[in-house]
């Protein structure tokens, strides 16, 4: 205690230690990890196993593996980001407000945790794929993995936005439920064509999924048709901006209420 001496303490937050503890807590969450890791892996095994027909530079199994990795990464970032909002609402944010940690550092830690969990999910699905007959050009394989992982950041913003806008105990469930709908519309689970495909092209996960498949397919679709590169890029940019604006709006609303 230094009640009388003028203090010049310079505590340096051990951000990595905090992030490691938070990550371990996240990975321990059995229900959460089931949906992030086990369910996509299971779906790959059901839909993708033994599909040796060739698609682009790889086979069907690889195509489905990329789809499921996309779904896994999106679930990971949505869950972690949504969970971060819930933590704040539950009062952990007040606890952190009494530490030297600055809000920007908290956001940074959560982003790091979300991206790490997403990396774990993607790595697992790709490993299972590699062991069970998914095959394709190595460079396309790597580029796909990188794209899936990096683009999943946009769904961290989505998770944040949903949980800020609709506060409540069911919100993370709603956010995950909407992901399933978006995954169907995003051409991830079953190949679409015709009107459904036209509608799907405008939905948030379509651009992401199309870009993830691009290294393998060069934009050619499973049921025929072709997406020029600008289309998924525009889709991703537009929805990232929309999610960010929604998150900002939610943040402003939550501040006003506090």
């Amino acid at each position: 205690m230094t009640a009388l001496a003028p203090t010049t303490r310079s505590p340096r937050p051990a951000l990595a230690t905090y992030a490691a503890l938070d990550l371990r807590r996240q990975l321990r969450d059995r229900v959460g990890m089931f949906f992030i890791v086990a369910l996509p892996s299971f779906m790959y095994v059901v839909f993708g196993l033994g599909s040796e027909d060739s698609v682009g530079s790889g086979n069907v199994a690889m195509y489905i593996m990329v789809s499921m990795a996309t779904y896994a990464a999106v679930t990971a970032t949505t869950t972690v980001a949504g969970g971060a909002t819930t933590e704040q609402v539950m009062g952990w944010g007040r606890q952190l407000a009494l530490t030297p940690l600055r809000p920007i550092a908290i956001v940074g830690i959560k982003a790091a945790v979300a991206m790490t969990v997403a990396a774990v999910a993607v790595a697992l699905v790709f490993t299972i794929g590699a062991l069970t007959g998914a095959s394709g050009a190595a460079s396309d394989w790597a580029l796909s993995a990188l794209l899936v992982w990096a683009l999943s950041a946009m769904f961290a913003i989505y998770g944040l936005a949903i949980c800020l806008l609709f506060r409540g105990p069911n919100t993370p469930g709603i956010a995950s439920g909407l992901i399933v709908v978006m995954a169907f519309l995003g051409n991830l689970f079953t190949p679409m064509d015709g009107l459904m495909l036209d509608i799907g092209r405008l939905t948030p996960m379509y651009g992401f999924a199309a870009l993830a498949h691009y290294p393998q397919t060069d934009g050619w679709l499973p049921l025929g048709g072709h997406d020029p590169l600008w289309l998924p890029v525009a889709n991703v940019l537009a929805w990232t901006v929309i999610f960010a604006l929604l998150a900002l709006w939610g943040l402003r609303r939550s501040r006003a209420r506090a």
Binding site: M1, A3, P11, Y18, D22, R94, A97, L98, T99
Partner: protein, 293 residues
Amino acid sequence: MSERHPPAIRATGLRKTFRSTDGSTVVAVDGVDLCVQPGEIVAFLGPNGAGKTTTVDLLLGLTRPDSGTVEVYGGTPRQAVAAGRVSAVMQTGGLLPDFTVEETVRAIAATHGRTDRVATVIERAGLSAIAGRRVQACSGGEQQRLKFALALVPDPDLLILDEPTAGMDVATRQHFWDTMRADAAQGRTIVFATHYLAEADEFAQRTVLIARGRIVADGPTADVRASFGGRTVSFRPPPDVVRPDGLDPAWLDRVEQALVPLGVDGLEVSSASLEAAFLALTTPADELAGASR
């Protein structure tokens, strides 16, 4: 006042209003002035809804006042928090249910860059036996002790406690205050909000009584009790009439008879308490009138 030794807390003209759900404005804190010197132990006493928690939030910089200023050790509350000079046990501060007790402490210690303090504060808060337990499996009192451990992490000069013993049983509460007393003896400044009158009475040198967002009394605890606790004449009985089960009834009879010529009746034997002061000062006059009707 020398700026080398600024007061632990200097609050001037604090005012904070909230918009309630029906659109009307609620004044939570209404012109609070407060100065706490290093080493003081101050009780913040008031009924629920008096503005204690809002005042604590203002002192910690968690809420911005509508008007007025707060200085903690001569700087902003945020600076004092960042330097680890002030910390708090908050009433509504949350814990993460899926961390263990030890992980919670380590996480907060990491934010302070004080991972060296983990073992110390776990021991100080009496959590060694349940260090490996998940927070969600802890009782209310255990969670309260965990929050206390978190507050000790930065080894703060000023500790602000909002209803610190909520959910603790009698023995734990006793132990908690013993710990606090030892801390205070070493020079830690302690400000605690409570509605347990006995806690203020026993522990605080100074009591600040707050009601409807205003400070209605502020002084040495004994003075607050004496000046507002009704008109009580007290004296010490001779030791030979004091028995383990109370005062000798024969002696009390003699006291009563001696007082009759002075026009005194209805002699009551009780120990003085803050309770009377508390009720007299915090109950609005119209409510008292309504109650007596």
